[in-house]
């Protein structure tokens, strides 16, 4: 059964904004996501930035990558602020109930000491990695070109702040504030973490926003998340009595799975635009995967012992498969 309300129809003069119609192939009803595209001013800039007088405020020549239509870099998740915020709010409701569940079911007390210690030692310093990731994606948002790509970069940056804070809460739940100090100390001094810290600090001075995207989002995050949240947490800690650790960090795997969809589509679009793009991206990817593997090796060894090379190798292989699918040769 259906009922039929009578409403007044007024014929519209047009269906969407002209700049949106241009991007979606004509004047037709546009989705909310589509109406956020093309929002970046693009012509007749007044003043060169005092912090980068070689370029316009928004300037595609900050990157070696060329595109004729930067707003083609669409997000397959179709995130705009509202859908992203509501999605994260929902996911963090689940995070909240996982924390509540772990605490109310005595799962912390049941956590074997060895697992607790290992989890804290490996995961707590990653707060700082997430903060570095937040810095790099803020930089990508500030200096890359086109609203279609820079907006998701900012969302990514804030996701990383959320992850840094989630890891903080994790450490405070399994331990106390002293754990944060211990993690920070390891990050700054323990040889296990120094190659990774060095990689991040080197990435802070990269000026090409798309190179930075490859170094950080593609290569480092592409290896780190599978290594830590699958190889270490899911495959090692959870079967050994660390179900609580798995529950409390479930967001990270979910987040990674979701964001690689965006990353891969962006790479595919960039690479398919020209063979020069594909070559440049492949060169960056190859170098930065090698570097990230090297930097993660001591962390992997600390987390996984003798299995480390195999797990890290698997992660690198599956990342390479992703990149091959996106049209890169690595």
């Amino acid at each position: 059964m259906s009922i039929d309300l009578k409403t007044r129809e007024i014929k519209p003069l047009r269906h969407t904004y002209t700049h949106v119609a241009r991007l979606i192939g004509g004047d037709k009803p546009a989705t909310r996501y589509q109406e956020t595209l093309g929002a970046q001013p693009a012509a007749n800039f007044h003043y060169r930035p005092t912090w980068d007088p070689e370029h316009d405020l928004f300037d595609p020549s900050r990157s070696k990558i060329r595109m004729d239509q930067w707003d083609d870099l669409r997000d397959p998740r179709q995130f705009y602020y509202a859908t992203w915020t509501m999605a994260r709010a929902r996911q963090f409701e689940a995070v909240e109930s996982n924390f509540a569940f772990v605490e109310s079911h005595g799962m912390l007390a049941a956590l074997p000491e060895k697992i607790r210690e290992e989890a804290l030692v490996v995961l707590t310093p990653l707060r700082h990695v997430a903060w570095g990731d937040n810095m790099n994606n803020s930089q990508i948002c500030a200096t890359a070109y086109g609203a279609a790509f820079t907006a998701p970069a900012m969302l990514y940056a804030m996701d990383q702040l959320g992850i840094a804070q989630l890891l903080t809460r994790f450490a405070l739940t399994l331990g106390d504030a002293a754990e944060l100090e211990r993690g920070r100390d390891a990050w700054l001094r323990d040889p296990t973490w120094q190659p990774l810290r060095r990689l991040l600090e080197d990435s802070f001075v990269i000026t090409d926003p798309l190179e930075l995207f490859v170094v950080q989002d593609v290569a480092l995050d592409g290896l780190l998340y599978p290594l830590i949240y699958e190889g270490f947490v899911q495959d090692k800690l959870v079967p050994a009595g660390g179900a609580a650790v798995g529950l409390l960090t479930a967001f990270m795997s979910e987040w990674h799975e979701e964001t690689v969809r965006w990353i891969d589509v962006v790479l595919r679009k960039l690479a398919s635009f020209s063979s020069e793009n594909a070559t440049t991206l492949s060169g960056w990817a190859e170098a930065s995967i090698a570097r990230a593997k090297e930097a993660l090796a001591p962390v992997a060894a600390r987390a996984l012992g003798e299995k480390a090379p195999a797990v890290l190798g698997d992660a690198a292989e599956s990342l390479q498969r992703r990149l091959a699918k996106a049209g890169l040769s690595v």
């Binding site: 519209p12 956020t36 005092t50 900012m154 944060l180």
Partner: protein
């Protein structure tokens, strides 16, 4: 095995501190000056970045929760408004011209703020300040998008809404807000914060954002006013960031005081000039008026602003250099702007008109010192000419101020019968200004303002025609060629309200909606 003792509950402040502070570190593999290359070149001295006080202590989980709730409610209203042809309940379609100015001139500024705060959020030191900037970057992205979404329905049924981003980069009057924000974004991070967070958000928001949103409430625009309410708590966070950042700079080192003072002088005046468009909107474009520009200026500018600068006196800050002249302008600027826009309506993407008799009387009552003496006779002349079928259109392009980029129509402080002209010579070229304060902004940083993309100069230089246009062809019509470059639909987006398609449609639709 459970040797852990019951944990002490952390206070909100301690928790926030652990969640945010201490995430960052001093780099050692790269020099700090390379990782943070932009914190020193403006001359601001910071000794302890951790002295930055976090006023809101928001963590991301809380941010997502609050903002997600707000978005849900907002989009429900936007949907309902669109579904039910909510625009039929507007006081009058003239009102929509205020919203045209908003989407053409303000929405793109939200976008600039989004990118500018992303930059500040990366390049400041100190996690507290950076997280505050990053959250504002997100909020500004939100505002850009929700404005495009809530105004989208008007675009479907009315003209002057369809190409705001294209217009923003090209159309003459939009270079006023465009150059304003690009000036801020092209400055260093501290000046950016002074410009946007302090001068714009803290000092002037009540004169920019609030009049538009109150105008929406008064004129039946449920879509826009709901956005306004939804953005209100974001705005209060941004205002707090503004006052905190000023205090932070002033408290860190006495050498910062003169630098900050110069920025306050500059950005107060830059912001005030942009507000001319808002004053005009308040006095002329709202069928149901909220208050006059003069009244708004007296409350928010003179009283609140005056008190603020008195308060900042303890840091050695005085009121902005242009403050007195801004107060002097309150009887004039909205009228001078409207008269100018009326005569240039053939090249503007919104409609103007001569107010009705009742509206003229309202203006007389609100502006007893100036309206009847200087402005009513000119408006009556425009009405007369329009009735005779010869509406007054100015075909000569005006001289623009090289800094604020507003046509040179402002009058001398204290003498509303004489146009105010100032000029400076720099490297052999002469530059023109609307006031002492725009001139002084130029004189301090001429290498920046010689770069201004002045729309009138650009038209005369032939840079505002579509490729392939031949200005030497017989019968060449420069105005039509410029409209073509602007992508303004001649006869639909521009010209006066009385004969507009907007008016015809609105009257037909509402008549049909209210009769049988």
């Amino acid at each position: 095995m459970d040797t852990r003792v019951e944990k002490k509950k952390l206070s909100l402040r301690e928790r926030y501190h652990l969640m945010t502070r201490g995430l960052g570190w001093e780099p050692t593999y790269q020099p700090t000056e390379k990782v943070f290359p932009f914190t020193a070149y403006e001359g601001i001295k910071i000794h302890d970045w951790d002295k930055w006080e976090d006023p809101f202590r928001l963590t991301m989980d809380a941010y997502w929760k609050y903002q997600g709730e707000k978005e849900k409610k907002l989009y429900a209203v936007i949907d309902a408004f669109a579904q039910n042809n909510g625009f039929l309940s507007l006081t009058d379609a003239r009102y929509l011209n205020a919203i045209k100015i908003f989407i053409q001139g303000v929405t793109p500024l939200e976008y600039y703020a989004h990118r500018g705060f992303a930059f500040a959020g990366r390049h400041f030191r100190g996690e507290g300040l950076r997280v505050a900037c990053q959250m504002q970057s997100l909020d500004e992205l939100r505002h850009t998008q929700t404005e495009l979404h809530s105004i989208s329905v008007y675009n479907k049924f009315f003209n002057g809404f369809h190409n705001p981003l294209h217009w923003f980069d090209r159309v003459w009057y939009l270079s006023v807000p465009k150059s304003f924000f690009e000036d801020a974004n092209s400055s260093g991070p501290f000046e950016f914060l002074t410009a946007i967070s302090f001068s714009f958000e803290y000092v002037l928001t009540n004169l920019l954002f609030v009049p538009f949103m109150s105008g929406a409430a008064y004129n039946g625009d449920l879509s826009t006013v709901t956005f306004g309410f939804s953005a209100q708590s974001d705005e209060s966070r941004h205002m707090t960031l503004g006052i905190e950042c000023i205090k932070f700079m002033l408290e860190q080192d006495p050498d910062n005081v003169p630098i900050v003072q110069r920025w306050i002088d500059k950005w107060f005046w830059r912001g005030y000039r942009v507000l001319t468009l808002v004053g005009m909107m308040m006095d002329y474009m709202l069928p149901k008026r909220v208050m006059s520009w003069r009244e708004a200026w007296e409350i928010y500018g003179e009283q609140n602003g005056g008190a603020l600068f008195q308060d900042l006196g303890r840091y050695g800050i005085r009121e902005p250099a242009g403050f007195r002249d801004a107060c002097d302008g309150k009887d004039h600027i909205s009228h001078q702007a409207w008269l100018t826009f009326y005569t240039y309506d053939p090249v503007a993407a919104f409609h103007t008109w001569v107010p009705s008799d009742a509206e003229l009387d309202w203006l007389s009552a609100k502006y007893p010192e100036s309206f009847d003496r200087y402005y009513r006779p000119r408006l009556l002349y425009l009405r007369e000419q329009q009735a005779a079928g010869t509406p007054v259109a100015n075909k000569n392009l005006p001289l623009l101020c090289n800094v604020c980029q507003i046509p040179m129509f402002f009058t001398e402080p204290g003498d509303p019968r004489r146009i105010c002209y100032r000029e400076s010579v720099y490297e052999g070229e002469r530059y023109h200004f609307c006031s002492d304060h725009c001139k002084s902004i130029f004189d301090h940083e001429p290498e920046k303002y010689v770069q201004s993309w002045l729309p009138v100069h650009q038209i005369y230089q032939g840079n505002c025609f579509k490729p392939g246009t031949d200005p030497t062809a017989p019968g060449f019509d420069p105005i039509k060629a410029v409209l073509d470059y602007y992508e303004i639909n001649n006869g639909r987006d521009n010209l006066w309200y009385d004969n507009s398609e907007d008016r015809r449609n609105f009257e037909a639709w509402t008549a049909e909606a209210r009769g049988n």
